[in-house]
């Protein structure tokens, strides 16, 4: 394992940023969110939870899928031979589809917590299964994930319930695992991509085998803390694959959804929510077709010209949690679509969250 002094972290960031785009927690106007690092940015790896999760790195809130260029063809040109080929019909507005660009440069996501790293696995199951989403795939292939252990888990954390180890990022799908021990950052490459990144920053790292025992102590300490957390004993026994009928028709929903505003806060801060909308924006010479995050909590999520299949907030509320705790596990060998990051616990304006849902069904028994 390697180490680098915490005082020296800015030079580490600078070094990484000289070869890669560096996406990491940045403090801006009092809030810490993932953003691209530059010399003026205020890096913040002390804050346990960024407001938005790091899923932006692979699935940004807004992404251009393609542009459609429109060229108006004057009537006399439209009648020319070229157009005749098109089944003898003249072309009036010519459309040209220009696909969006895939990410083709490696980039680094620094400081992702183990729960968010599990979030990537959850999204992989969606975007890389069946039909592969190439926009996501290109980002996944080029993203190098540096995960950071959670030095001091907070009361809203419950990742251990989903079998995530907040103490040891080396058990995750990250490329590099890091810990903060005393005044040092411990660096341990896990994959080939991680080794490549390590080679770039090697000059700044010290090979330090003495730190191993300290890391073990840190892991033990974090594990102990996470056992004491109030949500540590949350039971998921009742949920999971195949519980659709039992849970869907339960009366409890009609009580617990009350007060839900139908905003998208929980969805947008969640590391696993991946529903999106595809929209057009009319630009100067054509149309930009982009996708953006969407929330199943919004009243127009399923709205069609002829009405919608989830007209009440109760149904929309139920859909979100059923999807996370029942439907997704049914399709993905029991893996839950929640990683216990606790962001919804902290951010919901009305203090609703996935834990309260799980507990509401538990209390009923």
């Amino acid at each position: 394992m390697y180490t680098i002094s915490k005082d020296n972290l800015n030079s580490l960031y600078a070094k990484i940023a000289s070869s890669y785009d560096l996406f990491m927690p940045i403090k801006k106007a009092g809030q810490t969110n993932y953003g691209f690092w530059n010399e003026d940015a205020e890096a913040d790896i002390e804050t346990l939870k960024t407001v938005k999760s790091g899923k932006d790195a692979f699935f940004p809130q807004v992404e251009t899928l393609y542009n459609v260029n429109k060229t108006i063809i004057p009537a006399d040109v439209a009648a020319s031979d070229d157009a005749e080929k098109a089944a003898d019909t003249p072309i009036k507005t010519k459309l040209e589809v220009v696909p969006g660009k895939f990410v083709d440069q490696d980039f680094v996501i620094f400081g992702m917590k183990p729960c968010d790293v599990r979030g990537i696995e959850v999204m992989d199951n969606v975007f890389l299964k069946d039909f592969v989403d190439n926009y996501y795939k290109s980002r996944r292939e080029h993203g190098i994930v540096v995960s950071l252990a959670c030095h001091a888990p907070e009361e809203s954390c419950f990742c251990t319930v989903f079998g995530i180890d907040p103490a040891d990022p080396s058990k995750s799908v990250a490329d590099v695992a890091t810990w903060i021990v005393d005044d040092k950052l411990v660096w341990k490459p896990l994959t080939e991509k991680g080794e490549a990144l390590t080679a770039v920053v090697k000059d700044l790292l010290t090979d330090d085998s003495a730190v191993d025992s300290k890391v073990d102590a840190e892991i033990t300490s974090i594990t102990e803390i996470s056992k004491k957390l109030p949500y540590a004993n949350l039971s998921l026994e009742d949920w999971g694959a195949g519980k659709t009928d039992e849970k869907f028709n339960d009366e409890t929903w009609s009580k617990i959804y009350q007060g839900c505003l139908g905003c998208g806060t929980c969805t947008f801060v969640c590391p696993t929510c991946q529903c999106y909308d595809i929209k057009d924006y009319t630009t100067k010479n054509g149309i930009q077709r982009y996708r953006c995050w969407d929330s199943c909590m919004y009243s127009d999520f399923t709205l069609m010209a002829g009405g919608q299949n989830r007209p009440t907030q109760l149904q929309r509320f139920r859909q979100r949690f059923m999807h996370k705790l029942v439907y997704y596990p049914t399709n993905n060998d029991g893996m839950y679509m929640c990683v216990g990051c606790g962001r919804c616990v902290e951010k919901c304006p009305q203090s609703k969250n996935v834990v309260k849902v799980i507990k509401a069904f538990e209390n009923k028994k």
């Binding site: 630009t283 100067k284 010479n285 930009q288």
Partner: protein, 147 residues
């Protein structure tokens, strides 16, 4: 940035004109052979009270450099009171835009009757000069509309 033949900045102006006074004023300016810049794009509205603050913001978003609202003189509204409501609304909106850090002068309200063709042309000329001196609207525009 749109330029004229002398390589000077040619601003895009959107003018919301009420059907009964200002639009007729613009008409009179035209038939009296009074000139005003061709980059003023007139949008006819039934009344200055019809101008939703969002229209103004949308015009800026989609590339306007200045927006002017023209209505009947207070007291002369075809619907008797429409321009009074518009006056309050625009006062608040303009103050808000200033508060958000948008340069003063990009927006304007001018009362102009059907008989004031000369005033209409003069106002437009002045407004265009003012906007030209302020330069391109960067703060309120949407980048996507530029390419």
């Amino acid at each position: 940035m749109p330029m004229n033949e002398n390589n000077e900045f040619k601003p895009l102006i959107v003018a919301f004109c009420c059907n009964w006074c200002s639009y007729a004023g613009a008409d009179l300016a035209g038939s009296s052979r009074l000139t005003y810049p061709e980059n003023v794009k007139i949008i006819r509205v039934p009344c200055s009270g019809r101008v939703n603050p969002m229209f103004i913001l949308r015009a800026f978003e989609r590339g306007a450099d200045g927006v002017i609202i023209c209505g009947c003189h207070p007291g002369d509204c075809h619907y008797s009171t429409g321009n009074y409501y518009a006056r309050r609304r625009m006062a608040l909106l303009f103050s808000m835009l200033e508060y958000m850090g948008i340069e003063n002068g990009r927006t304007r309200v001018e009362w102009c009757s059907a008989a004031e063709g000369a005033k209409f042309s003069k106002t437009m000329n002045e407004f265009c000069e003012k906007i030209a001196s302020l330069g391109e609207n960067v703060r309120l525009g949407d980048l996507r509309c530029k390419n």
